[in-house]
C-alpha cells in the first residue's frame, strides 16, 4: 500500500474528522515544548479506544510507515517531534477516567487523561494522584508514563514509576499486551519498569492503572528568602540530615524570581536575594505543626533573611503557582529558552551553581535556575534569542556544557524531562557504546522495524563495530524476535 492508500485506510478506520492529513493541518504538530527542532508529520490521528490504536498501529507496521504517540505535547526534549514524517497518534481523545477503586487505592485511566484532572475527579472524596510535574494542569498520564515524569512532591512520594502499577500497551507491531500487576510486585521480568520512561519508543500505553493516595491530613508550606545560595543549599542538607522528609523542597534563583514576578503569578520577591526556598511538610496534623516549626528553626540557623509559613490556601497556592509557572514565565525575560534537567548529588549544589554561572558569563547567555532541591534535580533555563544567528546553537552547546558539569560531579543528564532528541549526544557522558548497544538491542525486541518514535532516547553507537554488534545481537536472535510477535499475539487479550 502506498502512503496515500494508508491515509485512506486510516480515514476508513477513524472517519474523516479524526484524521488530519492535509499539509495545512499539520504545522501545529511540528514540535512539542522543545522548539529548537521542528519537522512535519505525515498525518495526525485521534483514536478513541485501545482497539483503534491497535488497528492503526498494525496498519502502519505492515506498511512500514513510521509513527509516534503524542499526549499534550509538553515534553521538553522533543520526544513527540516527528523527525521521520511520522503519523502522530494523538491520545488526547482517550481521556476518560475508567474506574476508581477507593478501597484499594487504584484508578484506571486512559492515557490522554490530564494529570491534574485525575486529582480533580477524586478530590471530593479526599484522594489525589501524587506525581505533580509543574505541567500537571495540561500534561497527560500517558506522557508522564513515557517520560517517567517527576514533580515537586516526588521527593517524598516518588516519581511516576512508583505510582503506575499496570498498563495495557499496544506494541509497535499492533499487538496488545497487559503488563504489570495491579496488586503485588512484578511477576517475571519487570516489563512495566522498562516501558515507564521509554519515551514512546516501545509502544503506546492505552490504559494505565495508577495508585491514588489519601490526601494528607495537614499541610504546611514555608517560603524562605536567602541572601546567599550557599545558605539555602546548607539549609536543604540540614533539613534532610535532621531526619525530616519534607513533601517538597524547591529552590529558585534571582533571575527565575524576576521572571515569575513579571508574570500573572506575582509574589514580590526582593531584588537583592540570591535564593528562595519553598518547603512543604505534610502528614498527620499534630506532627506537621511541629515539623514546620523545626524547618523554620533550621532556616533561621542558616542566615535566612525572612521565613514565613503560608497563612491560608490562597497564599500557599500563589507560592506554588509562582514556582510551577517559572519555566513559562521565562518568556517574560527572554524570547526563547532551553530548560536543562541535570541531577547532582545535593551536597555539590553550591559548587555546581558556581560553575553554571561561569558558563553563563563565558557564553554571554543568561541562565536562570529552578531546582527540585530535595532530590538534586536542577533546571537551568538558558535564555537566548533564536532570531540572532548562531544563538540557538550556542544555547544548545551551553546546555550540553551544563550537563557535563552534572555528569562530572557524579550526577545525571536527566531527572525527569527525558532524553528525546535533545540529549542524545549527552547520553555518551553516561554510557559507553557497549552500554548503548545493549539498550538498542532491547528496543528492537519491542520495536523490530524501528518504526515507533525512531531516533529518540538512545543514540546509535558511534563506532561501527558497536552498530554491527547490535545488529548481530538482533540477527542471532531472529528466532526470538520473530517468536515474540507470535507470543504476543497469543497473549493479546483484546482481539
Amino acid at each position: 500500500m502506498n502512503g496515500d492508500k494508508v491515509i485512506r485506510e486510516l480515514v476508513r478506520i477513524l472517519g474523516p474528522s479524526r484524521v488530519l492529513h492535509k499539509p495545512h493541518q499539520l504545522h501545529t504538530y511540528n514540535c512539542d515544548a522543545y522548539v529548537a527542532k521542528t519537522s512535519l508529520p505525515r498525518a495526525v490521528v485521534f483514536p478513541e479506544s485501545t482497539e483503534e490504536v491497535a488497528r492503526i498501529v498494525k496498519l502502519l507496521h505492515e506498511n512500514d510507515i513510521p509513527f509516534l504517540p503524542r499526549g499534550a505535547g509538553t515534553g521538553l526534549s522533543g520526544g513527540a517531534t516527528p523527525l521521520n514524517g511520522e503519523v502522530i497518534v494523538s491520545l488526547v481523545r482517550m481521556n476518560r477516567l475508567l474506574r476508581v477503586d477507593f478501597d484499594n487505592l487504584r484508578a484506571v485511566v486512559q492515557p490522554g487523561l490530564v494529570n491534574l484532572t485525575l486529582t480533580r475527579k477524586i478530590t471530593n472524596k479526599g484522594y489525589y494522584y501524587a506525581p505533580d510535574p509543574s505541567s500537571q494542569s495540561v500534561c497527560t498520564i500517558g506522557g508522564n508514563l513515557a517520560e517517567n515524569a517527576g514533580g515537586s512532591h516526588c521527593l517524598k512520594y516518588g516519581v511516576t514509576t512508583n505510582h503506575i502499577v499496570a498498563a495495557k500497551f499496544v506494541l509497535p507491531t499492533g499487538n496488545v499486551v497487559d503488563i504489570g500487576q495491579p496488586f503485588g510486585d512484578p511477576v517475571g521480568y519487570d516489563l512495566l519498569g522498562l516501558v515507564v520512561g521509554s519515551e514512546g519508543t516501545l509502544g503506546i500505553a492505552t490504559e494505565i492503572t495508577v495508585r491514588i493516595l489519601k490526601k494528607p491530613q495537614a499541610v504546611k508550606t514555608a517560603l524562605a528568602l536567602f541572601d546567599r545560595v550557599s545558605d539555602a543549599s546548607d539549609t536543604v542538607s540540614d533539613i534532610i540530615r535532621a531526619g525530616i522528609i519534607p513533601a517538597a523542597i524547591e529552590m529558585m534563583d534571582q533571575l527565575a524570581m524576576q521572571a515569575v514576578d513579571k508574570s500573572n503569578y506575582y509574589v514580590g520577591y526582593p531584588a537583592d536575594i540570591e535564593a528562595v526556598l519553598l518547603i512543604e511538610v505534610d502528614g498527620m496534623a499534630a506532627g506537621v505543626e511541629e515539623t514546620s516549626q523545626r524547618v523554620v528553626e533550621i532556616c533561621k540557623s542558616h542566615n535566612v533573611r525572612t521565613v514565613k509559613v503560608a497563612e491560608n490556601d490562597a497564599e500557599r497556592a500563589l507560592w506554588w503557582s509562582s514556582r510551577k509557572m517559572a519555566f513559562g514565565a521565562t518568556g517574560r525575560i527572554s524570547p526563547d529558552y532551553i530548560v536543562q534537567d541535570g541531577v547532582i548529588p545535593r551536597s555539590r549544589l553550591t559548587e555546581v551553581l558556581h560553575k553554571i554561572s561561569e558558563i553563563s558569563r563565558e557564553s554571554g547567555l543568561r541562565i536562570a535556575n529552578v531546582f527540585h532541591a530535595g532530590d538534586g534535580n536542577l533546571h537551568p533555563l538558558i535564555c537566548y534569542d533564536s532570531r540572532i544567528p548562531g544563538e540557538t546553537e550556542k544555547a544548545i552547546k551551553v546546555g550540553s556544557a551544563v550537563l557535563k558539569v552534572c555528569a562530572d560531579v557524579g550526577g545525571s543528564i536527566t531527572g525527569e524531562h527525558g532524553v528525546g532528541i535533545e540529549k542524545l549526544e549527552e547520553m555518551r557522558f553516561l554510557f559507553t557504546d557497549t552500554d548503548l548497544a545493549a539498550q538498542l538491542a532491547i528496543r528492537s525486541v519491542f520495536n523490530p522495524k524501528d518504526l515507533c518514535n525512531a531516533g529518540k532516547l538512545v543514540p546509535k553507537p558511534s563506532r561501527c563495530v558497536e552498530v554491527r554488534h547490535a545488529q548481530r545481537i538482533i540477527e542471532q536472535n531472529a528466532d526470538f524476535f520473530g517468536g515474540f510477535q507470535e507470543q504476543t499475539e497469543l497473549m493479546s487479550p483484546s482481539k
Binding site: 499534550a72 509538553t74 494542569s137 518568556g331
Partner: protein, 449 residues
C-alpha cells in the same frame, strides 16, 4: 541544527503573509515559549482536541504566516476564526502572550485579503457594517422588532410555522429575544442624572448597542445604582456602538472609525469615568489603544480614554458602595463573562456586590469562567461549537439555583437560549439588576424611568 541560520536567511527573502497594516507583531508572538499551559483552558481545544484549534497552535500558525512559512490560507484562517476570543488562555499564560490581540490582528489581515463570505460573511456584513455602526438604522431595527413582537406578528409568524425556514440556532435565538422596551436608554435618559447624597465623581454611561436594544432595563438599573452611590451620570447622546464586534471579525478599519468617534464624544463630555455594564464593550473600550498603533495622535487620546473606562461592578467597588438594605431572597449562581474575567480581570467585584445583598445565596458553579459560546456573534457564525459550549454551561449550573447572574448581554442571550432549550425555570439576570432591586426594595429610592 544549522536550521536557525538557514531560517533567518530564508526569512530575509521570504515575504510575510501578513503584508497589510496593523499586522501581528513579532514582539507579541515571539513571547510564546510553546509550553502548552494554555491548552486545557481553551474551550475549542477542549471540544476538538486538535492543536490547530488551541491557543498555542493559533499563535504558532500566526508566527509561521508572519514569517512567510505559511500562506494566508485555510491553514491559518480556520483556526483564527474558530477562536472565541474568550481570552481564557491569557489568564493562565505564564509568559504573558496577548493571544486575543494577535488573533484580532490576524483576522484583520484576512479581512484585507478576502472580505468574508458565506453565512458568516452575510451575518457580518449585515450587522457589523450595516447596522451597528449606524444609530439611525439601529433605531429602525429596534422599532421593527418591537413592532414584530407587539403587533401580534410574532404570534402569527410562530403560528404559521414561518420560522422553520431559519436554521435551528437562529430560531432559538429568535425565541429568546427579550421583549424590546419602548425606548432605548440612550433616547430615554436625560443627559445628566445627578448623584444622590455626597457626590463622589462623574461618569459617562456607555449604553452599548446590544445592551440598549435588548436590555435597556439594565442600563436604567445601572444609572440608578450609580446615582445611588454618589455618581453623577451623563449620557452623551452622540455615542455609537463600541466596535467590539468589528474588531472580533477583523474589520479594524470600521472599528477605528467608530473608536475615533467615541473617543471624541467622551472627550467632550469630560467625565472622571466612563462606565459600562457590557463586558464585551468594556474590554473593547479598554483596548482602544491597540487599534491605533500606527496613529500617534489617536493612540494618545485612546490611552487617555481607556484609563477612564470602568465596568460598573469595578467602579462601585473602587469608589465604594452602600450595602443595600432591601432583601432579595434568591439562590443564584454567577457566570464569569469571558470579557469580564479574562479580558478585564474582574472576578471578585461582581461576586462581592451580589453577596452584599441581604437574602442572596451565591452558589459557585464549576468552571464558571468557561465561555458559554456566545462570544460576540460567534453563536451566529459557528453555531455547532457555540451550541456544544452552551450545553456544557447548562450542565454546570448547580441544581436548585433560581437565577444565573452575569455581566454581559451576549452571555445573557446565549444562556437564555439554553434555558429555553431545556425548558428549565431559571432567571437570567445582570448583576446590577439584582443590586438595583435590592436598593429599590429599601423603599425610599426615587424610581426614575
Amino acid at each position: 541544527m544549522a536550521k536557525t541560520a538557514v531560517h533567518l536567511a530564508d526569512m530575509a527573502q521570504r515575504s510575510t503573509s501578513f503584508p497589510w497594516p496593523d499586522a501581528p507583531e513579532e514582539d507579541q508572538y515571539s513571547v510564546c515559549v510553546h509550553c502548552g499551559f494554555c491548552l486545557e483552558v481553551c474551550p475549542t481545544y477542549q471540544q476538538l482536541g486538535d492543536e490547530n484549534h488551541s491557543p498555542r497552535g493559533r499563535v504558532h500558525l500566526i508566527k509561521e504566516a508572519s514569517q512567510g512559512l505559511l500562506p494566508l490560507d485555510e491553514s491559518v484562517i480556520n483556526p483564527v476564526f474558530t477562536c472565541l476570543d474568550c481570552r481564557a488562555c491569557e489568564t493562565v499564560c505564564p509568559s504573558g502572550v496577548q493571544v486575543g490581540a494577535l488573533i484580532e490582528e490576524a483576522r484583520g489581515q484576512v479581512h484585507y485579503q478576502e472580505p468574508p463570505s458565506g453565512l458568516s460573511g452575510a451575518v457580518e456584513k449585515l450587522f457589523l457594517r450595516g447596522i451597528f455602526p449606524r444609530p439611525a438604522r439601529l433605531k429602525k431595527i429596534r422599532r421593527l422588532m418591537r413592532f414584530y413582537q407587539m403587533s401580534g406578528l410574532r404570534t402569527a409568524v410562530h403560528k404559521m410555522g414561518l420560522l422553520k425556514v431559519l436554521p435551528m440556532h437562529l430560531r432559538e435565538l429568535e425565541a429568546v429575544i427579550p421583549d424590546i422596551t419602548e425606548q432605548s436608554a440612550l433616547d430615554a435618559l436625560p443627559e445628566l442624572m445627578p448623584a444622590q447624597g455626597a457626590r463622589k465623581a462623574s461618569a459617562g454611561l456607555f449604553t452599548g448597542c446590544v445592551m440598549d436594544v435588548f436590555f435597556s432595563d439594565v442600563n436604567m438599573a445601572t444609572v440608578r445604582v450609580a446615582n445611588r452611590n454618589g455618581l453623577d451620570v451623563l449620557v452623551p447622546k452622540e455615542q455609537i456602538c463600541c466596535g467590539a464586534l468589528q474588531v472580533h471579525a477583523g474589520d479594524r478599519e470600521q472599528a477605528r472609525k467608530m473608536a475615533r468617534h467615541n473617543i471624541d464624544v467622551f472627550e467632550r463630555t469630560g467625565t472622571d469615568y466612563i462606565i459600562i455594564n457590557a463586558a464585551g464593550c468594556g474590554a473593547a473600550l479598554k483596548e482602544y489603544p491597540e487599534l491605533f498603533k500606527d496613529d500617534p495622535v489617536y493612540h494618545e487620546k485612546a490611552e487617555q480614554f481607556s484609563s477612564r473606562v470602568r465596568d460598573i461592578s469595578e467602579l462601585l467597588v473602587e469608589v465604594g458602595y452602600e450595602r443595600p438594605q432591601g432583601e432579595v431572597n434568591c439562590t443564584l449562581t454567577y457566570h464569569d463573562a469571558c470579557h469580564l474575567c479574562h479580558a478585564q480581570k474582574i472576578r471578585s467585584q461582581p461576586r462581592e456586590l451580589l453577596k452584599s445583598i441581604p437574602g442572596v445565596n451565591l452558589v459557585e458553579m464549576v468552571d464558571a469562567d468557561r465561555c458559554c459560546g456566545s462570544a460576540g456573534i460567534y453563536n451566529l457564525t459557528h453555531p455547532d461549537m457555540a451550541g456544544q459550549l452552551l450545553e456544557r454551561k447548562m450542565d454546570d449550573i448547580p441544581e436548585g439555583v433560581e437565577a444565573v447572574v452575569m455581566g454581559n448581554p451576549g452571555c445573557m442571550m446565549q444562556i437564555k437560549a439554553g434555558v429555553e432549550r431545556r425548558k428549565v425555570d431559571l432567571d437570567v439576570l445582570h448583576t446590577v439588576e439584582l443590586l438595583d432591586l435590592a436598593y429599590r426594595r429599601e423603599g425610599n429610592h426615587d424610581e426614575r424611568r
